[in-house]
Symmetry: C2
Subunit: 306 residues, 2 copies
């Protein structure tokens, strides 16, 4: 297997591009894919101050590395969620602690700015506590908390856009989950750029959507980026993972299927669902946008304080 560019020994084969790459040219390929996503969807400019939500996993650290290489000005924000679980290599360390350390090392090695927000210190609860109290799937409570706090952090820091590390697999799985039920409101909300709204929603962009999960992992490995390889210990009940497994079976049979599904939607069908955006008002408690009187995060916070 030879590199498509230099004919040297290839390190990774990408079936959907019918191509293989050596480490150097794979890195160049990955950077180009991000560049193309930013350009095609007019995501951000070099003048923008960007805030990236980092988890310590492969996607967000690869994203930070690639955007920095491209010359963008990107600060990171890590949310300490208070998730435990013993890790084999680092016995006694909780999952969240280890994840944070990967982010801190990455940032300090490169002189990048990283903000740490501790859910427990600032809001008085952890994700495991919130999941137990509300009897909801942890991923659901975690997702709504992340969306809220990252948006607030970007507003507080007066950033121009919030960058999310969602990859091709994430986006295809989300879209498929919604298409299988024809949940038209959720379908209509899925886009690589979610514009800012006057009432407190910051612009959100997803420059990683042209790279698959195994490609962001390969990017980290080939570029010496240490990341948290363990899955979150609270992942049980996450339907996105099953959806990804099922889509991987399709991809195995038809390489490129995930890409065609996601980008076909964006090119040919997204505008048919775009009228579905809900009317947003202002949360009476915190002032962030919401569809009800009090936003979901404030309701969670109030419940956790009770």
């Amino acid at each position: 297997m030879k590199c498509r560019v230099c004919r040297g020994k290839a390190a990774i084969k990408i079936r959907r591009h019918n191509a293989a790459f050596c480490p150097e040219h794979f890195t160049a390929h990955a950077v180009r894919q991000v560049e193309k996503a930013i350009k095609d969807f007019d995501m951000v400019t070099f003048e923008d101050r960007l805030l990236l939500g980092v988890s310590g996993g492969k996607d967000s650290l690869a994203m930070w590395d690639i955007l920095t290489r491209l010359g963008y000005s990107v600060d990171g924000v890590y949310l300490e969620l208070g998730i435990g679980g013993e890790l084999s290599e680092e016995e006694g360390h909780a999952y969240s602690d280890v994840s944070r350390q990967y982010c801190e090392s990455f940032a300090s090695d490169r002189g990048l700015k990283l903000e740490i927000i501790d859910l427990s210190t600032r809001y008085g609860f952890t994700i495991p506590e919130a999941a137990t109290e509300t009897r909801r799937v942890p991923c659901s409570v975690c997702g709504l908390s992340k969306r809220y706090i990252l948006n607030q952090a970007a507003l507080d820091g007066e950033y121009d856009a919030l960058v999310m590390g969602h990859n091709l697999d994430d986006e295809a799985a989300t879209l498929m989950g919604n298409v299988l039920q024809w949940n038209t409101e959720y379908i209509g909300r899925q886009h690589p750029v979610l514009p800012a709204s006057g009432n407190g929603l910051i612009r959100k962009v997803k420059p990683l959507i042209r790279l698959a999960e195994r490609e962001t992992a390969a990017y980290c490995i080939l570029n010496g980026i240490d990341y948290e390889v363990e899955e979150c210990p609270m992942v049980e009940g996450n339907t996105g993972i099953k959806m990804k497994e099922w889509l991987n079976e399709l991809e195995e049979r038809a390489p490129g299927a995930k890409h065609r599904f996601l980008f076909g939607y964006l090119e040919n069908a997204a505008d048919r669902f775009s009228s579905e955006q809900p009317h947003l008002t202002t949360c009476q408690s915190c002032g962030q946008p919401t569809i009800g009187e009090t936003c979901a995060f404030c309701r969670l916070e109030i419940r956790m304080k009770a």
Copy 2:
């Protein structure tokens, strides 16, 4: 496992309905599903003269049986496609011959009218010959020939509607195949009722869409209907079969997923794609509707005569 209705010994479990049935009540259930599909989509009336394309397989024979039970007036039409392949039980008999015999037995046992159209006698070629000559996948040549000839047969016999034996699995697989590519024109054409058009397209209805493949098979077995169980020997290269396998893996994980996908589309999304219908003109050779000057079937016929 007990029958949901009579608590007798169940013969089949249907996970998506979270129910099991004895033979008698499964039959009643299947008949009700067809009744509901006809009613929900306003497919046909008891005054309509219906023509059903029968292949000798489980779907079309179950369809004929159920519609007759419900009191509809349904004639059958069998297309002799000239497909060979030795069958183990009936050595020396070609696939098409055996399929035809199942249709003939079914019709004569019940005093129903069956028309036989021989592709070779009437149009001068068989499906294997056409596939070889055009170097196309047999299913593709076969599909376009069937659509054309069945429509013509219904027009010739002055029927009110053409009934197709597509089941839930068929329809979900077709929809998924088109959604994976967001082929909006094909998505927009998928509906359980395709209305007649003034220029020669007869009304087409699919009353079997609420029954899955294994349910039509069970219906035949439990009601003593003999059908062709072998798959067509020319099926290689048929992408629909792979799609069905993949959807079955989903159904296994999430019973009801296929039903929700198909009916969710019809309820929530079909009208977003309905403007995609192509403009039809009249084939200059045969007078049937087409999107070009000469319809695909006439072009095939001309090529086979050359």
